[in-house]
């Protein structure tokens, strides 16, 4: 293929240009000499021979040019030449070049960093085969209730039988586990799943095997477990012979059958941390019943893989059909007032759903920053092109076409963009660790952030596009000029009104964009402060909290069996006594939950408020607490009394909070009335003995929920939290607390130890993260807008030098000149602010979901932001204004 060969040839010649030219020169020289010799042999005189030869053979330089045309790639040569020249020009004005490159690097770096977040969290599919077929299965009981309810064993088995909906279904049951037999009892994150869990996800183990028939056929929990890579490294020392090793969890013996590869994570929520141990079982022993009961709902959720060819919509329709059939078939287990329904949602969507809007908002903000950066550089280039008019005019006069000049300028801006892009990538590489430090833990995959292929492509693409775009416009503008006036030295007549207007428009656009970002940041900051200042309902200072797990061994003969309520109560009493005895402790308490520790699941309750004989159904958060719980937290008692030691279960008592009293016992005294908790068919009634103040249970920015408290001595649980109020510094007592708990029972694991103030701060992390990020973007944009205004006004002052000199000569005062300049700048700023307010008002509609007690058009925020921008604009105009007053009228008037 001759054409392909010639292309190869040309590319090869590119690299040996000089050699080729030298060779040709030698060849042609030889040719001429040979012709001369031939001429002389034919009888001509020497000079005549040479002249005849040269005439015969034609122009040498022309020949060289035609030759060069054959092997060179014209446009590539021109480009290389432009690039070299451009680099020289840029290096000759280092100030401009540095500012332009830095601005570009900032824009590209920030947007690449955020894009890497978008890519990691939102765009990257789950690392399983066919991740789009994976669904999360949740169950609701009352049609309008937002809270999910667990499911029962028969319901799960029904789902597994729906082969026209699911190819596989596995339960997902996060649990605490207590790993004993090691130096310090370790709390591990365990996950009970169905035996087909790993087959469902389609992941093979790194060592050993996953669950097999042996594990599937056991009625209780099977001995064989699978470890995560991190658990294997941390708790088993990375021992390559770990398969078959036995260990104790909750005093039961388990055996390792496999280890998962590093990077494998359970795609879903866990209790505290990443899953360490997966185990399975037949669900026919504790905590389940021997014969499965349909209304005994314990399993929190399930995941499934859709059957091939079934769309999610079709699957949901079939599930609804199945639910209706099941409700019909088992009327005893499904009351007519309830509508039990399973819901299948895409797994990926469920995982990222919460953070999706925040992340897209972040991306929108960073694109605004990028636009501002581009506008700044474009402005800088426009300004510079005015200074280079003479150079361009000379080139034009020497024969450069307009497209050649435009190409030259575009190459310069692409060079800036390229270097800026590399700088930006470096920035993007270093930003993620900073982002991770600020980010809330609940964002999935965030620890997998990296600058990888798609991010690189994004950065390079953005650099190229922005470089071309924002180089093209100034280049087109700069190449349009008249030769006559511009060739003259010192041609300052340059700025045509249209050019000035274009620059002003650019700067106004920058101000508008900054206004939008600043307003967004201001609103988010306000929301954060509002949330921060919300009264939590208790006194968080000087309180330490932590969690414990009372391990329930399946083997009833095991010592310290916390299966029995008496044993648990005995432990709680002893812990309270010991904790109170620590010097420096004012009060201590135990409870099943502490406030602000995370999301909680509501229980069904029945309020005996006289509305009808069965009572009003509803839901509330239920917590079992010890006697000093409210005193330790500093929660106010509104009516009645709190629990005493006498409330040990003989007469069921309960406390409710003000929200519950309002919702279910409005207009009456709840004390003496009853509240019941529904478990399946049975209702556990308790008499209300008091009303306490509302406490923020999940997070500061959620409204108060109804809560019900029961005494721990009446009903105990296996997962407990302790609260210790100290007189002075809370963290100093942590080791003493641990010591006391271990004295009571050396095998109890203690984890999640924080001060209440830390918990409070952690509950607001996501809000703070967004506010900080957008705030820093806004700060950057403010700086750039200020620079933009400064640049434009400075140029105006320079170009109006004559006019200013004239005015000064005619008697204008310094103040009048300053006012004139300031007015110029403030007019631009006001125009920008005006447009920014309009645009921002629309944009803040997107923010609505993230605001807390802040109206999107909050006048205080908007007003102060506008004032800030005006102040910055005024400051930016100040320096050029001062320079204007220093103009010497004589010099200005004389100058051309």
């Amino acid at each position: 293929m001759p054409l392909l060969r010639s292309l190869q040839f040309k590319l090869k010649c590119l690299f040996s240009r000089r050699r080729k030219e030298a060779e040709l020169a030698e060849e042609m020289h030889a040719h001429i000499e040979m012709q001369v010799e031939a001429n002389r042999a034919a009888g001509m005189a020497p000079e005549e021979a040479r002249l005849a030869a040269l005439r015969r053979l034609g122009g040498i330089d022309q020949a060289k040019e035609l030759y060069r045309d054959e092997w060179s790639i014209r446009w590539l040569e021109a480009l290389a030449r432009d690039a070299r020249h451009g680099a020289r020009v840029l290096l000759s004005s280092p100030g401009f070049t540095l500012v332009a490159i830095a601005t570009f690097a900032l824009g590209i770096g920030a947007s690449s960093a955020v894009f890497s977040i978008v890519e990691t969290v939102l765009l990257r599919p789950l690392p399983f085969p066919q991740p789009g077929r994976l669904v999360d299965v949740a169950f609701t009981l009352t049609p309008n209730a937002p809270t999910n309810v667990p499911c029962s064993v028969p319901e799960l088995e029904d789902l597994r039988g729906l082969t026209d909906v699911f190819a596989e279904v596995s339960m997902v049951f996060p649990m605490d586990g207590n790993l004993t037999g090691v130096a310090e009892p370790q709390r591990v994150e365990a996950l009970a799943v169905s035996s087909n869990y790993f087959r469902l996800l389609g992941v093979a183990p790194a060592l050993g095997r996953t669950f097999g028939t042996e594990e599937a056929s056991v009625p209780g929990w099977a001995q064989g477990c699978v470890l995560s890579h991190d658990a294997w490294k941390n708790y088993f020392g990375g021992d390559p012979a770990v398969v078959g090793k036995k260990f104790s969890m909750d005093y039961d013996t388990f055996r390792v059958v496999g280890v998962m590869p590093p990077g494998f994570r359970h795609p879903g929520r866990t209790l505290v941390a990443e899953v360490d141990v997966w185990f399975t079982g037949g669900l026919r022993t504790a905590p389940f019943t021997e014969t499965p009961k349909r209304d005994y709902r314990l399993i929190p959720g399930a995941i499934g893989r859709l059957a091939p060819g079934v769309s999610p919509a079709a699957a949901q329709a079939r599930l609804d059909h199945f639910a209706a059939r099941v409700r019909n078939d088992f009327p005893r287990d499904y009351r007519s007032t309830e509508r039990w329904a399973p819901h299948a949602r895409g797994l990926q969507e469920m995982l990222v759903g919460e953070v999706r809007s925040s992340i897209w908002l972040l991306f929108g903000a960073v694109v605004l920053v990028l636009l501002i950066c581009c506008a700044t550089v474009a402005n800088l280039m426009l300004v510079r092109s005015i200074a280079r008019r003479q150079e361009m005019a000379v080139r034009c006069a020497l024969g450069a076409s307009r497209s050649a000049i435009v190409r030259q300028l575009v190459v310069e801006s692409v060079l800036i963009a390229a270097v800026g892009g590399i700088g930006g990538l470096l920035l993007a590489y270093n930003l993620p660790p900073l982002l991770l430090a600020l980010a809330p833990q609940s964002v999935p995959h965030l620890n997998e952030l990296s600058v990888n292929g798609p991010v690189l492509a994004f950065a390079l693409g953005m650099s190229g596009v922005t470089g071309l775009l924002f180089g093209l416009l100034p280049a087109l503008r700069a190449s349009k000029f008249e030769l006559g006036p511009d060739l003259k030295v010192g041609g300052r007549t340059g700025a045509a009104p249209t050019a000035q207007r274009r620059r002003l428009a650019l700067v106004a656009a920058q101000v508008a964009l900054s206004m939008m970002l600043l307003a967004g940041a201001g609103l988010l900051l306000r929301s954060f402060l509002n949330a921060w200042q919300t009264a939590p309902g208790f006194e968080p200072r000087h309180v330490v909290t932590g969690r414990m797990w009372l391990p329930p061994p399946t083997d009833p003969q095991a010592r310290q069996s916390y299966h029995s309520h008496e044993n648990r109560v005995r432990l709680v009493r002893e812990l309270e006594r010991r904790l109170r005895a620590i010097p420096g402790v004012e009060a201590a308490a135990i409870g099943t939950e502490v406030p602000l520790a995370g999301t909680r699941r509501a229980n069904e309750i029945v309020a005996d408020n006289g509305s009808n004989e069965a009572g009003t159904n509803g839901d509330a958060l239920v917590t079992a607490v010890s006697t000093d719980y409210f005193r330790t937290l500093g929660v106010r008692l509104l009516r009645g009394r709190t629990f005493t030691d006498a409330d040990d279960g003989r007469n069921g008592v309960a406390l409710i909070n003000a929200a519950a009293a309002e919702r279910y016992y409005a207009g009456m005294d709840p004390i003496g009335r009853r509240v019941g908790r529904r478990y399946g068919d049975t209702v556990n009634w308790c008499t209300i003995v008091g009303v306490v103040d509302n406490v923020k249970a999940e997070s500061l920015d959620r409204p108060d929920q109804p809560q019900v408290y029961v005494p721990l001595y009446q009903e105990s649980a296996l997962g407990l939290a302790f609260l210790v109020r100290t007189k002075g510094g809370a963290s100093s007592l942590v080791s003493a607390v641990r010591g006391e708990i271990h004295t009571a029972d050396a095998d109890l694991p203690i984890y999640s130890v924080f001060t209440m103030e830390e918990l409070l701060a952690r509950s607001l992390t996501q809000r703070k993260f967004i506010a900080v990020i957008i705030g820093s973007f806004a700060g950057v944009s403010l700086l750039l807008a200020g620079l933009g205004i400064y640049g434009v006004i400075a140029l105006t002052v320079t170009q109006r030098g004559r006019e200013i000199g004239l005015r000064l000569a005619l008697g204008a005062s310094h103040r009048q000149i300053t006012t004139m300049v300031l007015r110029n700048g403030l007019v631009i700023a006001c125009a920008g602010i005006g447009v920014g307010v309009l645009g921002g008002a629309l944009a803040t509609l997107a923010l609505r979901g993230l605001l807390f007690q802040t109206h999107p058009l909050d006048p205080l925020t908007w007003g102060s932001i506008a004032a800030l921008l005006l102040a910055v604009a005024a400051l930016a105009c100040w320096l050029p204004a001062r320079r204007a007053t220093k103009v010497d009228p004589m010099v200005a008037l004389r100058c051309d």
Partner: protein, 110 residues
């Protein structure tokens, strides 16, 4: 006619160069002499046409070039036909004869 520079199409010159090199490798001077000889003085090829054509043919892989010594002990670059070049020459020659006979016939017709 000797000094008259007739206009030659690029492609035709390429073909003639290939033909001229059919027998033996030659350097630039020898080649231009041979072309003049073969055309009985009609075609006097200038350097500005010869060397670009030689570059073209070399790029397409129909010629091979090597430095060597001429008869007068001068260092010169010798050009030689490749196998692909020989095939190309045949193809072009047959195309040319078809073309020229067709045009001849058309011109002769009334």
């Amino acid at each position: 006619m000797n000094k008259e520079k007739s206009a030659l199409l690029q492609g035709t010159l390429d073909m003639l160069i290939l033909k001229a090199l059919q027998l033996e490798p030659m350097h630039g001077f020898g080649l231009s002499n041979r072309l003049g000889q073969m055309s009985k003085g009609v075609f006097q090829v200038e350097m500005g046409s010869l060397y670009p054509a030689l570059c073209r043919l070399e790029a397409r892989g129909w010629l091979k070039a090597k430095w060597g010594t001429s008869e007068n002990n001068r260092r010169a670059r010798f050009y030689e036909l490749t196998a692909a070049g020989r095939k190309q020459l045949e193809t072009e020659a047959s195309e040319w004869s078809l073309l020229s006979s067709t045009i001849d016939a058309m011109l002769r017709a009334t």
